[in-house]
Symmetry: D4
Subunit: 215 residues, 8 copies
């Protein structure tokens, strides 16, 4: 009764409602995931603590937990044979990986092939240029970066495919919890970039998946 | 010499460099547009004053000026017969139209069919629901809204297509020049939304065009 | 001596002074609640920890504790038979419930009938429209929402009754501790909405109660 | 076609759609007011320039213009004989009067009796206490204040009726365009206060009117 | 060697350097206090943890600790017989007392008579007016308030003596860690008010002491 | 009727109400100054345009206008023979002089002897040290500085008298309209400093005058 | 008397005091430049209007005006034959040129060879890489960029020489007057970068000059 | 695979990539440091917890840990005999020492002689002037200060050498995590100052080292 699950969402938007665990009690999360798992083949819960997962697993034994990106996943779809299009998930640094994995696993769960290229920040531009081929052939790109968030602009200027930029809260001081990267990405002078919330790997994965499935 | 035009951009990204006129002198704008018009079939200059256009027209007589969105356009492409996919450009209010037109004309110049639905803000939700059909059948959606920017969330929850949200600076007081709508759109609980800079109709039109051309 | 209780308040404003526990010591809270309970039939203390309640219960045994909204309540009024007017408390998500309960319990303690409709955020607008009847018949509405806070605008456009909007700090990143929802609600283009502080369920409940008792 | 007027609003909410003129062209304003005036007895347009009014008057000769609050008003209702309940509109300073008049005229147009008490800021508290009677007998109160916005808290503690607080942008320096008063009002330790946007006299007048008509 | 104590300060400014403990190690605090206590009759250390005090007491046995305001004090001055002028320290709420005590104890240590009037916030203005006499006869006033900080303005308008306003971080939500009260106090329309940093009881006590000693 | 002049203020606080002209119409200013000048020997109006002064002079011929600080002054007191105590008004740069003059003239009008030392910013510390004598002998100090506002800290560490710090909006970029200097002054590690609003020369002059008259 | 010129500065720091014209009257600027020109071979005045220059030229006929960067320059040094080290001044876009010229002319006036490379923003990274040689051989680099300010990071990662980053206010919306570029540059993950104020070409030129003269 | 180490950096920029430990797992840090230590004579890891160091030491036994600045260092260079140029690292207070040590140890590891002068904040300007000699003879200066950050301006005006300013988060209230010092330093009216991120001792040490090695 505390949650009005949007069971219609899978029909309306192609994927069931995703659970945002932060601010919910352990019991609420467990109950919601259970109810979703009764009706859907895929379930995704983000920002879940380990303790939440323990409670979920008791009710939904085939659920999995990804520790770094803090995701609970139920995936009962048979393996989809995706074509050769892939979503490329890139990070500027190693510390951005948890957010990148949230995006990547979200996209995979939604039936996309995902390629990862991590730790290619612009302070060593050759690392990025060395990935030229893999960047050019991506169908959709997710660029995850904290600190000054410059990677999005450089990648945005290299491709003719859509770039989803994800600012992260990695950094300190005048980073102001990701604000620096967020503003940088919003002000990118490269066109073909759009931005999601700070640390919102899920949102980027979802958006990229929708675009990647367009024919 | 003051401008290193990125003449390679049309090849690399499918459309020539777009001129950002704000902060440039009238002479700089005129020279840059002229040089771009020598090499390209389409030229776009954003945030152009009428005075800038007067100077451009002397050098590039077939250029056009759109007063509301302050765009200078050169378009020598023969009419492209687009298929039945369209980009839907929506606004919450009448005051958001200049930004919406910047997006719409950008997308049209890049070869897209564009449909406009203006003034359907959420404070009268029936106006929005009355457009249900046209919303469902859009291939990509651009949602332009100032004030509280809520339209993006409602539309984002209705479709399974990508939504590009454009916050505008329309409003006053605690709107803080578009910040209110920007934050609202970034925090949207609907997935499948990504955001561009405040008043950045051009960026939204470009992003939507890239996505709309994916096959 | 550390607290000058405003014992006159019940006469002046119809309800005794409410204790804001945050920033007070356990002893201060216990003493203040005890002194208020000596003179009043109803006592309310907000943002109280469990430890504070333990200390209060020793002095005021008929006090109750609501864990989610962190309220200490003393209620010695005989059950008031309210007429059929009700205050409707709505939330956009499940995570907003603690704040909503603070509002609802405050209003109930002040003699109002309260109806709860939780988890009807705008990303699935049909959930909201399904509650059309219950929304239309409410006498006063409290809309509790975090993230982009869009629910207030949509509800505000549906009714001709006053809407009290409560932004919550639910969210992350560019939510900035509830700022996003606060700004959205202040900038609502629906008229008939007024806003209280972030997470201020108590303030909303009090305001709604005052309005609901107007004849 | 640029404006989808919400002609249903008068039925749904008891008053037709109000025109927000800022950011609209003179022609748009004139056309919208004309179309509204064809169907409604009352029309209100806010933040209108004198030039806009000139254009409106040509199409709607019985429209009036209030220069200080920048309102265009059409009022064809026969004088409603209101009972003795009144909305009290107060200001802290003389510079807050334009916003206060926006609120007062809005409320009057919606059929309320309005009493004005201006320039009673808290730096001379006796000026406020001298109005004790008129404050106590008000049915709803609108408190308009810039600078530190303290008037709302003091008035809020004196009455058992709802207080709508309107921060204004009057001030300078660390006032930050009304932010200081806005934050003060949101953080008021008096209960029974709710806040509208900076300089939003209209919103306060509308909210007060809804409440004042409750029986 | 890590600290260049300003031993000249007692001569130059009438009171030895005061230790700001936050961000220092326990050992640093203990050493600095010891060195100051060797040369001075009074020593004051602010924002000191209990653990710091334990370390200090071992080296300076006649030091005292005030838990609520977190002060370490050494006071070897013989009792000064102050004249009848007093500094009045007022708070709006009970939660503001720790900051107020920091101010009061600072002023007492510097040889001032201090009177305390706590919990007289403006939401119950009669509580404040009841203190009229004690307010009028104060020589300097320190007003400590969180939330909307309105007390400073009201008091500032009642007296012809200097008012030092201290915003506190008491509050939540749009209080933003004391910003709301700070801005309110800076924008006070009462003249004769100056402001110190958020939660800076020490600074207020020092400033008041300097003024109170003027002849 | 639009202004409730606080005629009691001269008795209560030793100086009549001061007119804040910004946001008032020319007529309002003229009327208010006239009414004040009928009852008081001194009148002060701040932030007055030249046009406002023209209107005032017609009604109050013995009023004077100071163009740089934009003050209208009426001064009919016979010259007060002040003792040798003086308020020292200092600025960091030449651009801060208008605000400094607002403070100085305010203080002079209130019967204080004022000494001016301008353009002694800390980037050339010898300029400041060269004024050592005049600084040491001041009774109260007003330090006016924009940009980084460092002058207040250095002066604050040199004297045992109260320092009123006035941040100015002089600067650009990350100065954010005076915010940089304001924050610097609030965070000064010198004790004996209190701060008024950005550009509030009047407030500083008033505060300094009150202190300077203490015996 | 309004200005205490720091005539010692040329000796202490190798270049006379530079005049910041904003906020000064035309007369003040003219007088200050005249006095500086009497004693120094070089004079520099920043943020000067054309009208200010007219007044200066009457007093100092050999002064020059640079319109774009708004500089007044007096340069009576005989041409210094600099060695082959140069300061490289780069911009991301054409609109950043005025700030870049302020930096370049400042550095030239202080005896440095300056090379300019404008309009090589990262959205077309090949434009930047094409300048590889000229970048590698610079002795000090000044990187001027608005919008997302990413150029500083990319250049910072290419060289082993110091980079002075200058954010500009070029952009709009969530650029917030240069804040986006400023934060990006401060958070650069490339080491060897330091930042000056938004639009502070002068400061960058001065800093680069000091470094470039180190032997 | 999670980290693409920039092994080319030592060649390109004279020092290997530095590890930013915050946001990385203990295992990631250990692996990265190990891999860097295999190829380089010097390794530096910043913001490392003690636990991280324990893991590193198992793999790289000759690594050292500096607890206050939280640095892991590997240094296998034979002692470089630096000439008599030194980098001067100064702090305003004792609480700024951890950041200052991060800068100093970084610079030492990169082959510079470093002199430390701590706790010479401007509130006791004689402490600073007493260091006149050591300040004048420094080749590059790093000024580390929290609170109001004024030390940078005063030092900047005393020398003709480059000053790297490091704001720290030391302070409270309106310090806003170092923002106050950051803005002050960016707005310094002394020329020859450039700024790095809040608490970024590493960046300052690196920048100073590059400059100090210029010949
Ligand atoms: N304390 C620090 N502050 C800023 N940047 C740093 C710091 N420590 C290391 N870095 C940089 O951070 C980058 C490493 O990021 P990552 O790939 O996440 O390890 C390198 O380019 C370093 O130069
Ligand atoms: N420059 C100023 N800054 C701040 N407050 C002022 C200023 N000038 C006048 N005031 C105050 O503003 C109030 C008058 O406001 P008003 O009623 O709008 O005229 C009085 O309380 C004055 O003390
Ligand atoms: N464009 C500029 N940005 C920052 N500081 C400047 C600028 N131009 C001059 N200055 C500094 O401003 C000071 C002069 O301030 P003032 O006394 O008001 O003329 C000198 O110390 C200059 O170094
Ligand atoms: N309205 C706009 N908003 C953001 N970026 C733009 C806009 N118009 C053009 N641009 C981009 O700005 C760059 C041109 O900058 P510039 O070299 O200063 O002319 C190009 O990369 C364009 O894609
Ligand atoms: Mg890395
Ligand atoms: Mg509309
Ligand atoms: Mg939900
Ligand atoms: Mg007044
Ligand atoms: Mg209380
Ligand atoms: Mg000067
Ligand atoms: Mg360009
Ligand atoms: Mg110290």
């Amino acid at each position: 009764s505390f949650a009005k699950l949007d069971h219609h969402r899978a029909i309306r938007q192609g994927f069931p409602e995703v659970v945002f665990c932060q601010g919910k009690t352990v019991e609420q999360v467990a109950t919601i995931v259970e109810r979703l798992a009764e009706r859907n083949k895929s379930v995704l819960a983000t920002r879940a603590s380990k303790e939440m997962y323990e409670a979920v697993r008791r009710l939904v034994p085939d659920s999995i937990y990804y520790e770094l990106p803090r995701l609970i996943v139920v995936n009962r779809e048979e393996a989809r044979q995706d074509d050769d299009r892939y979503i490329l998930v890139m990070t500027a640094g190693t510390s951005d990986i948890p957010v990148a994995e949230e995006a990547a696993i979200t996209a995979e769960l939604m039936g996309n092939r995902v390629t990862r290229v991590f730790d290619v920040g612009v302070a060593g531009i050759h690392r990025l240029l060395a990935q030229h081929e893999i960047i050019q052939q991506a169908n959709v790109l997710i660029v995850v970066a904290g600190m000054e968030g410059a990677l999005a602009s450089v990648v945005g200027g290299m491709v003719d495919k859509p770039v989803i930029a994800v600012p992260t809260s990695v950094g300190y001081g005048a980073n102001f919890g990701g604000l620096a990267a967020l503003l940088a990405m919003l002000n990118s002078c490269a066109a073909g970039i759009a931005v999601v919330n700070i640390d919102n790997g899920f949102g980027a994965g979802r958006m990229a998946s929708i675009i990647n499935h367009m024919r």
